[in-house]
């Protein structure tokens, strides 16, 4: 019988590393999704997500069941992402990457002022739903760009379109998806 989250927490607290790995397996997608939203370098985002899981591992004995475990761990993810962004702003400034430094600082300010972790988590769930509803052509474009990591130049070459047209198509798809996510989250908040 598969243990519940509470049972895994208890086992992990009792010293079972395997139990914590199971918890990490259960929550990694949400943690990575949450972090990746704010940390735009994929590799750095995974580092921050790992830092989150590790921080949770180290402070598991401080966890109280007053808040759900997923929100607790996403709260840690938020703090880790914040620290990363602030550090990134410092580093980029030092390296004279002013645009990146400013973006990191603004992103940190935005995240620092946003405590609606649960809503942000839901948005990711809603995005998965919205992606399923995309017209086939748009879906293929999104898959090529995000899943296959093809550049807009590459996609333009494949589809015989101009690169700027591919970029604009992606902008429009993102906008449509944003609207879809917003409407879904409103529906979730007001069932």
């Amino acid at each position: 019988m598969t243990p519940t989250v509470d049972q895994l927490i208890e086992q992990a607290r009792a010293g079972s590393e395997e139990a914590f790995y199971d918890l990490a397996r259960l929550f990694q997608a949400r943690v990575r999704g949450f972090v990746r939203r704010y940390v735009w370098d994929r590799s750095a985002a995974d580092d921050v997500a790992q830092e989150t899981l590790f921080a949770a591992y180290r402070s598991l004995d401080r966890y109280t069941t007053e808040i759900p475990f997923d929100l607790w761990i996403l709260g840690i993810a938020r703090n880790c992402a914040l620290m990363h962004l602030r550090g990134e702003a410092r580093r980029r400034t030092h390296e004279a990457g002013y645009l990146q430094a400013a973006l990191a600082q603004w992103a940190a300010d935005r995240l620092g002022g946003d405590s609606r972790i649960e809503l942000r988590d839901r948005e990711l769930l809603a995005l998965r739903e919205c992606l399923k509803r995309l017209p086939p052509e748009s879906g293929q474009l999104v898959t090529a760009y995000y899943a296959e990591r093809a550049s807009s130049i590459e996609i333009a070459r494949r589809t015989g379109r101009k690169e700027s047209a591919v970029r604009m198509a992606l902008v429009r798809i993102r906008q449509a998806l944003k609207e879809c996510v917003q409407s879904k989250c409103v529906a979730l908040e007001n069932p």
Partner: protein, 618 residues
């Protein structure tokens, strides 16, 4: 640039295209100036991340979880690992070999991570040993720093009993007589000072750990370039360890501050009144490195905006200073070295002890540096390089445009200027060097002046034929230097066909000339009276070089520098190409309103732009 063009730039940036520096600058300025646009692009960035995450997290979760297992394993053995790494580096095999406690990840196949930023693929052969050596060296530095830090790890935490003693003393001071109270106060004061000392030590330790974290980042980047999978894993672990230590220190420091705050709130104020110098330090979040000696229209940049700096307040290492328009600030170090920041200067990342350092992002700075300890130069870093100073007087002018770069002028002593590609030049007094993109780094003689007319000889100026009336004559009663100066007198009448008076003199410019300089003293002027200077070229085209309002000048002599513009305004037909080397005549005009003034010592400036004039023309 229109909003649509900015959004197009943004779409290119988001899609991973490389923007030119000018484009990045344009985008940054547009985002800085428009909070709505900023919200839009940050929303875009987040959504892009979400889309990436949705496609990413399901596919390579096994690799991620494997990494996490490795991480837990490595972190548990972090000290052992660092010790092993130190031994290995000391044995001289920074990039090769298999450590006895090497991470499991090396044996596990993971999906290749391809980054839009063009990072290197895993598993490709090692191509360059230099980055590996660099990464290893930095890692060794971190190991040593941690060794030092861990020797310090038997922290003298703030004594919980101290709070109780403090409270007891406070009670006693109420209940006991003045003599006993005085003794008790002394004990309490000692406690307070001890707590402050512990807090300061914690701040220093945090600064060290932060520095180690920065180095760990550098090591990680170098390791990525080295293509050595094993070294990359080590660099990653070292970074994680550095971050963990930093977080621990931050938590510890926060606890100390909280206790200190509680202690102050609970206790009666000590007899000793803190000096003004102590107050900001007690509120600070970092080590005090210097003091703001003078601040006019100068600010500290905060996450939520900015606050005006006050003269006399302490300067901490983590502060960022911005000098506003027409502002200035002077920073004084304990050793009496002084830095004078000019209008528009932006400075951050201050370091005080063990070699002073700061980062001048842009603007001008004059530094008067007393002799620094051997091996610990004051380092003035800029986006284009760094100046290492052992004791001298110098001036730096940093332009955000990489082609204009960082200009170093040395008034006294010697300064080493190093550019971003690692080339350095020693600049001696009376010389300058420019660290800029595409320019060879060389030391040149500083600014030279060439007299166009000092008005000591016969009058070479003429009234322009189209001018209705203008008095020009040499006078000897108000001069800037020598025996005579040139006096202009313009008194417009309602019947005049033109609203300006103009005088001309011959001029000849050379390559390397960068500005005109003259001195002016106003006797009489009506509001709105202004002056301008134009060049008439051989092709008879006239180009506006600079202008200014007489009302903006101060009483007495004013020095005016008129930089030779890159693209001045054409003021006459037919159109032609601007080329200052083709200038034959200088036209000096007085416009609109009554004006009586004297000019003297008209010169041409060659060499660097030091930005030292009382006033520059618009």
């Amino acid at each position: 640039m229109s909003r649509d063009e900015i959004l197009e730039l943004w779409a290119r940036f988001l899609s991973g295209s490389t923007l030119s520096q000018d484009e990045e600058k344009t985008l940054l300025e547009a985002l800085r100036g428009d909070s709505d646009l900023r919200a839009v692009v940050l929303g875009d960035l987040e959504f892009d991340g979400m889309l990436d995450a949705v496609h990413l997290v399901d596919r390579d979760q096994e690799a991620f979880l494997a990494d996490f297992r490795d991480r837990v394993h490595d972190e548990k053995n972090a000290t052992q690992f660092l010790r092993g790494l130190k031994t290995r580096i000391e044995q001289g095999s920074p990039a090769g070999g298999t450590p006895s406690n090497g991470p499991k990840a090396t044996a596990r196949q993971r999906p290749t991570v391809r980054r839009r930023t063009g990072a290197l693929e895993e598993g490709t052969p090692r191509r360059n040993v230099l980055p590996a050596v660099l990464a290893a060296a930095v890692l060794l530095g971190i190991v040593l720093l941690f060794t030092l830090s861990s020797s310090d790890s038997t922290r003298r935490d703030s004594d919980p009993a101290g709070s109780a003693r403090w409270e007891k003393a406070r009670k006693a001071s109420r209940e006991q007589g003045p003599a006993q109270t005085s003794a008790q106060n002394s004990e309490v004061e000692e406690e307070r000072l001890e707590a402050e000392r512990i807090r300061r030590e914690a701040e220093e330790r945090l600064a060290q750990v932060r520095e180690a974290e920065e180095k760990a980042w550098t090591a990680r980047r170098a390791a990525e370039a080295a293509q050595d999978k094993e070294l990359r894993q080590k660099a990653k672990t070292a970074l994680a360890e550095a971050s963990r230590k930093r977080m621990e220190e931050e938590e510890h420091l926060a606890r100390l501050r909280e206790e200190e705050k509680k202690r102050e709130e609970n206790a009666a104020p000590p007899q000793k009144v803190p000096t003004p110098e102590e107050k900001p330090a007690r509120q600070g979040t970092q080590i005090v490195v210097a003091r703001i000696e003078k601040a006019e229209n100068a600010f500290e940049v905060l996450a939520e905006g900015k606050r005006a700096l006050r003269s006399g307040e302490d300067l901490r290492g983590d502060q960022e200073i911005l000098v506003g328009e027409k502002g200035s600030a002077t920073i004084a170090y304990l050793d009496r070295s002084r830095l004078e920041l000019g209008a528009g200067a932006e400075v951050l990342n201050f370091k005080g002890d063990g070699g002073k350092r700061l980062f001048l992002r842009k603007g001008t700075m004059r530094a008067v540096v007393v002799k620094q300890p051997k091996g610990e130069p004051l380092v003035l870093a800029t986006p284009h390089g760094e100046a290492r100073v052992l004791g001298t007087t110098l001036r730096l002018n940093v332009n955000l445009d990489p082609k204009k770069g960082t200009l170093l002028e040395v008034e006294e002593g010697k300064v080493e200027l190093r550019n971003v590609v690692g080339k350095s030049v020693l600049v001696e007094s009376g010389r300058y060097a420019l660290a800029a993109e595409g320019l060879e780094l060389v030391s040149r003689p500083a600014e030279t002046l060439r007299v166009v007319d000092d008005f000591e000889g016969p009058l070479a100026w003429q009234r322009a034929p189209e001018t209705p009336w203008l008095g020009i004559r040499l006078i000897g009663d108000a001069v800037h230097g020598g025996r005579s100066a040139l006096r202009f007198e313009y008194r417009p009448k309602a019947t005049d066909s033109e609203t300006f008076g103009q005088a001309t003199c011959p001029i000849s410019l050379k390559p390397g000339d960068r500005a005109l300089r003259f001195y002016i003293r106003v006797e009489k002027q009506e509001p709105g009276a202004n002056w301008n200077i134009q060049f008439r070229q051989r092709d008879r085209t006239c180009w506006m070089i600079g202008d200014g309002l007489l009302s903006s000048l101060k009483a007495g002599w004013n020095r005016i520098d008129v930089p030779l513009p890159r693209e001045p305004q054409l003021t006459s037909d037919p159109g032609g190409r601007y080329d200052p080397l083709q200038a034959q005549e200088l036209l000096f005009s007085i416009c609109n309103k009554l004006a009586v003034f004297t000019i003297d010592d008209l010169m041409v400036i060659s060499g660097p732009d030091a930005g030292t004039s009382d006033q520059k023309s618009k």
